[in-house]
Symmetry: C2
Subunit: 279 residues, 2 copies
Amino acid sequence: MKNELLSIGEMAKINNISVSTLRLYDEIGLIKPCYIDKESRYRYYNIRQNARLDMIQYMKALGMELKEIKEVLESGDTKLIESILIHRKKQVKEQMANLNLQLAAISRTIESLERYRKSPSIGTITIEYIPHRKIYSLPTSINFYEYGIEVYENELKELKNSLIKHNLPQIYYCNAGTTMKKESFLAGKLESDEIFVLVDDNFPQSESIKRIDSGMYVCIYLDSFDDEPEYAKRLLEYCTENEYKVVGDYICEVLTEFSVFDDEKRGMFLRLQVPVAFR
Amino acid sequence: MKNELLSIGEMAKINNISVSTLRLYDEIGLIKPCYIDKESRYRYYNIRQNARLDMIQYMKALGMELKEIKEVLESGDTKLIESILIHRKKQVKEQMANLNLQLAAISRTIESLERYRKSPSIGTITIEYIPHRKIYSLPTSINFYEYGIEVYENELKELKNSLIKHNLPQIYYCNAGTTMKKESFLAGKLESDEIFVLVDDNFPQSESIKRIDSGMYVCIYLDSFDDEPEYAKRLLEYCTENEYKVVGDYICEVLTEFSVFDDEKRGMFLRLQVPVAFR
DNA sequence: TAAAACTCTAAACCTGCATTAGAGTTTTTG
DNA sequence: CAAAAACTCTAATGCAGGTTTAGAGTTTTA
């Protein structure tokens, strides 16, 4: 080893970088060794080349791509750096917004799992206070109760596409549900009114956002859409028997949905609910 | 096309996903078409399979890897989902912290570029108010002024390694500088005291953090370390001539460093400075 | 019936490296 | 001073999560 020169391994070590990374950077022309032995083809670096390597690492830490870094280093144009950085700044902000949504969604999901684990058995009827909720909803174009799951799936797709079309975060597309007018419910007819996803305060303002008021709800739990008619009937009967007055629209809420099985049914946990008043 | 079945293109379209992605998912067994024509090998999906695909997309949106998703879907174990999500939550938080640092660093760099563009020409002497700063510093083990740039580079490396060793964000390793005791400066001797990087309030608390007080500084601008002795001398002369009293340590601050050129020198913009009092 | 649109498989490409194999070189050790 | 240890070389392969392409075959539409 020449006195002033650093072998690739030494260069790697003092810069906390791997040898293969240095070779890659040589190959793509980001930083070339200042001397290459003609016989052995060994690469040798000068400690002064740290400056360039530092710059590369700094730009990498800013999230720039190697291509961009190379471009910048080659052009020596600070305007170019600046424009890349300004662009990068936007990217980072978007990423942060996304991560925030993710974090919230993860927390919701964990809670949802916890609730699933502790939830009452199928068919249980409860009377619960439910805090107010916000939903992003779309009116249903067909009464899917008459047509079955395929039509429901289509409506759901439309809801999702509506989110995509309006550039809204799809990550909410998990806790879905449907509503039905009080009148239909009381008449014992199943007539879908809206299909929705639950959203939180991070969700952007939109015309399609509605608030469902807090209150006491009579609820029944089930695990399949197929059983909804049967259980909705039971819910109505229960209200009638106990003389609870239904004071708002019926909601079918998907509490948990884990299609973890290989068959094609949605593996679900549902809660049918109507707000009631006590005589 | 069979009536109830969706071709891969249709399935892709209604799920806002690409055909090739669907093929990939088939290949790795994430979601298999419910029917494959034996002759043409065309894939056909059922709209009910949307449930599974939704679940996949949701888990992807949570940042899970395809491998993990597959595992979860195969096991059907909600405990597994939960543990993955809890782990993921940590990851997301770390990522956010990183992005925050990045964002701050990008902003600093953009400002730094702006300053560079509007900065006075080489040799200009100014008297400026400089707000207080925080530095992460290491005492220099050798007086690099006696040995030249290589030794300085080594000291710099040590500073960087100190950051790495203490698990501190390297992203600050950009605006570096050195200090020298007031006495050395006044004696006209170049004796390095500390080497540092500027940090902001995001930087974790550490023993090596010092505060440099705000105040009026006499400054001189230059663009190469090689000129530091010459310009430091001029700075001292200027203070003497104008009878400014030096009231603190000398600082050599790297305002901008863009090693954008292919040679091995640090392409820099420096500001030498001493805090002064007026008689 | 022909053209247009779709789908198939297989392989290559993308980023930013890490890893490995097999051969050659330098440095250290006895 | 030779052998062993440590290092380095090139070239290829792999990773994730896809996208793109080529060339051939299939369905749908006009």
